[in-house]
Symmetry: C2
Subunit: 195 residues, 2 copies
């Protein structure tokens, strides 16, 4: 559709559009090719399988939504408030996506469920950022000594209700902010004095 040769980038953009229009169940590789004005064989020159194409779209989406969080984690500020803002930012980003366009969010939730690998890498990135903040906090003396890796996992697990898409339906409930605040406080208090 664009200038000369077909690029992976163009295919990904077209695939996003097709997914948006038809949903994850009905979007086909033929639809993507049609949107680009090429044969579907051309798409297979750039992506080995439909699953790989969908995984690539998922990775793009995850990366885009994740922008900004890494910077926040690396900020030079007291670890406790930094962790709280980081968790709040993660929750807020996901919640906005889920509430602004529920269908698109559902589409990407399905896609994410298809490729463990992509999701696993995303989670590893999040864990790394939490571990960074925790290590800083221990160095600052704000958190009790601990294994940052293991504790980062505990923090991510404990806040699952506020980032795991499985819970998206609960994110519009009025008491969700209270619940988020309570879990955050509990986790931060726990970090201050881990047993």
């Amino acid at each position: 559709m664009a200038a000369g040769a077909l690029t992976a980038e163009e295919i990904l953009a077209a695939t996003e559009g097709v997914l948006r229009r038809y949903g994850p169940a009905k979007a086909t590789v033929v639809d993507v090719a049609r949107a680009l004005g090429v044969s579907h064989g051309s798409v297979y020159r750039h992506f080995p399988t439909k699953a790989a194409l969908r995984a690539a779209v998922t990775r793009r989406w995850l990366d885009r939504n994740h922008a900004g969080l890494a910077e926040l984690a690396a900020e030079d500020s007291p670890a406790p408030e930094r962790l709280r803002r980081w968790l709040a930012a993660l929750f807020e980003a996901k919640r906005r996506k889920a509430l602004d366009d529920p269908e698109l969010f559902a589409t990407y939730t399905v896609l994410a469920g298809e490729s463990d690998t992509v999701v696993g890498e995303h989670i590893d990135a999040l864990l790394g950022e939490i571990a960074l903040i925790i290590a800083d906090g221990v160095a600052q003396g704000a958190f009790a000594p601990c294994d940052p890796q293991v504790t980062a996992r505990a923090v991510l697990d404990a806040t699952g209700r506020f980032h795991n898409p499985l819970y998206a339906a609960e994110w519009s409930a009025p008491e969700i902010d209270t619940a988020f605040g309570a879990v955050c406080s509990l986790v931060l208090a726990g970090l201050r004095a881990t047993g």
Copy 2:
């Protein structure tokens, strides 16, 4: 099938059998009636709708699995270790169900997803037990002062990965016990010194 008049109890037992054999998608009221040797009209004398029948089966199952937990919560022992044992018992009960008979567990997970009310009551019961332990802990001086209701919710939320059926697939992973221990320790440390 049994002695004289058809009882709700017999219908529930027969329904469990039918669900076990055919799964949640294919089990019908006609199947239940056939298993009991009666017409399906008789079943509707005891339960107004199929949904109500399924909700009753779900409640029974939840209650049965919950047996023992309430006693544990009411025990006369230090709150921190009591809470840890209570959480471990909850996790262990769910995990055993999920691993012993995955199909049956999946069946009941589907059923639970159908009736918010029944699940809500079950969660309220769990929250009450946690709140009881927390209130005891505050009275004992082991936990920092807090609103037991709100904090109970935070504890249940924070440990969601270890009791919410949505996570059942992860319960056979080797590192799950480490993760459980880490979250428990974090939560208990948080209760000791809530901010």
